[in-house]
Symmetry: C2
Subunit: 253 residues, 2 copies
Amino acid sequence: MAEETAKRAVGKTTPCVNCPLRPRPVFRNFEPDELAFVSGFKRGELVVERGSTILHEGSRSAHLHTVLQGWGFRYKLMSDGRRQILNYILPGDLIGLQASLVGEMEHSVDALSPMVLCTFDRERLRELYVRFPGLAFDVTWLASREEQMLDENLLSVGRRSAVERAAYILAFLSARARLLGARPDEPVRIPITQQHVADTLGLSLVHTNRTMKKLADRHLIAWRDGACQVLDVDALAAVARWRGLGERTRPLI
Amino acid sequence: MAEETAKRAVGKTTPCVNCPLRPRPVFRNFEPDELAFVSGFKRGELVVERGSTILHEGSRSAHLHTVLQGWGFRYKLMSDGRRQILNYILPGDLIGLQASLVGEMEHSVDALSPMVLCTFDRERLRELYVRFPGLAFDVTWLASREEQMLDENLLSVGRRSAVERAAYILAFLSARARLLGARPDEPVRIPITQQHVADTLGLSLVHTNRTMKKLADRHLIAWRDGACQVLDVDALAAVARWRGLGERTRPLI
DNA sequence: CGACAAGTTGACGCACGTCAAGGCCGGTGG
DNA sequence: CCACCGGCCTTGACGTGCGTCAACTTGTCG
């Protein structure tokens, strides 16, 4: 629940052609004209600090963002302070689409680590739909993927036990980080606190801690340096009875 | 968890121009050329019985559907039988988009009442994107709306108490039915059982029943004829601390 | 050195799950 | 016509997973 909204806008530093993300195998190849359009679509870059709020529930952001670096999370707050984390945001994810489509954000987004965001004008989204149906299709594809992740999350919170839930979310985040190219030889590092885990799983902080201890005792995870290290993804997935991410290449807008 | 997949395909009975749904005020007006395209996009109608499964998790359906009549629900099953209901399907909702985009369904859909579905070829979705950017935008809009509903649902299951959750889901479904034109003078009838409610809220059947009784004792709802009658939406929304559906007109594909 | 953020642990209570039984009602079949 | 059955709602008794309260630890930053 960090508050400072310290952001820093930077001129267009990296043209999309040299995007450090795009060459990674998870992302599909773009046609030259698509790439040219996206390049023109890009308005600049934004650097945000750890803990700052990028998008506010209730606001009407004028921008769409694609994450270039760092971790964040989407969440909703109730008037009495209860918080539910809806999903996590990793490089390649698109955020702020809701505001661009429906008009108003119904959730907030915070940065878990320093983040670098690509920003786009929401005005030009319609133009994208008109001129590049393939990219428009991709935007819908991304929205549908987000829905799939939410579905699995809902199953987790609704029907899995505390240990299963905890195992699921850590396996899930670790799998996502792996797809983006995290070193396969070393444990994935997830920059969250146990409070984040609690608010994701719908558990109290204390019970989350006890649950984490069970997983740590089995050497499936470890907490170090204000982050969670995932030591054994497969074992976690097995504990959660989770089938894993059935994911192929995806678009990067 | 009904099993018979009894469906009955019918020739193109109602042309979209005479769609009984479209005139309702919730749906936005289409341009004549859009309407003509959607009309040609339509492949036929499907009538399904109460309790039948329309879409199967793991399948690759060749069709997209828009609901014309009736209620249904989306859900996921775990291998040991645990079920989580993700959302409900009402007239005007689009289903099967996931299979059309990502390739494979990650959830199933069952009919809660007799349903009539409009069917479309998924092949032609790309054509829609190419020829009618406005409609493509609408498809994304619908996907984003589904995401919003899931977000609220997740907040509910993760952070609300049993009574709050129950009040929320009933207020939510009632509000959706109202938008579609349910008679304002009489209580909304939601064709679900308490087992459905339990599987939506992540509660046991017994505890759901006790929770329902609390709401019934306060005359907020009543169970009759295998359905739930919502007597006081506003009171339910207040119990759940829910702000209500902030919904305006939406597209109908 | 104090202050603060985050993890850890124990004691205790409650919200919710589980098991079990029974009631109501419409449908089916002799 | 009644006997039976299965689906759904209801209720009681009892157990437990998780929440709450409260304290202590550890590390980091000034």
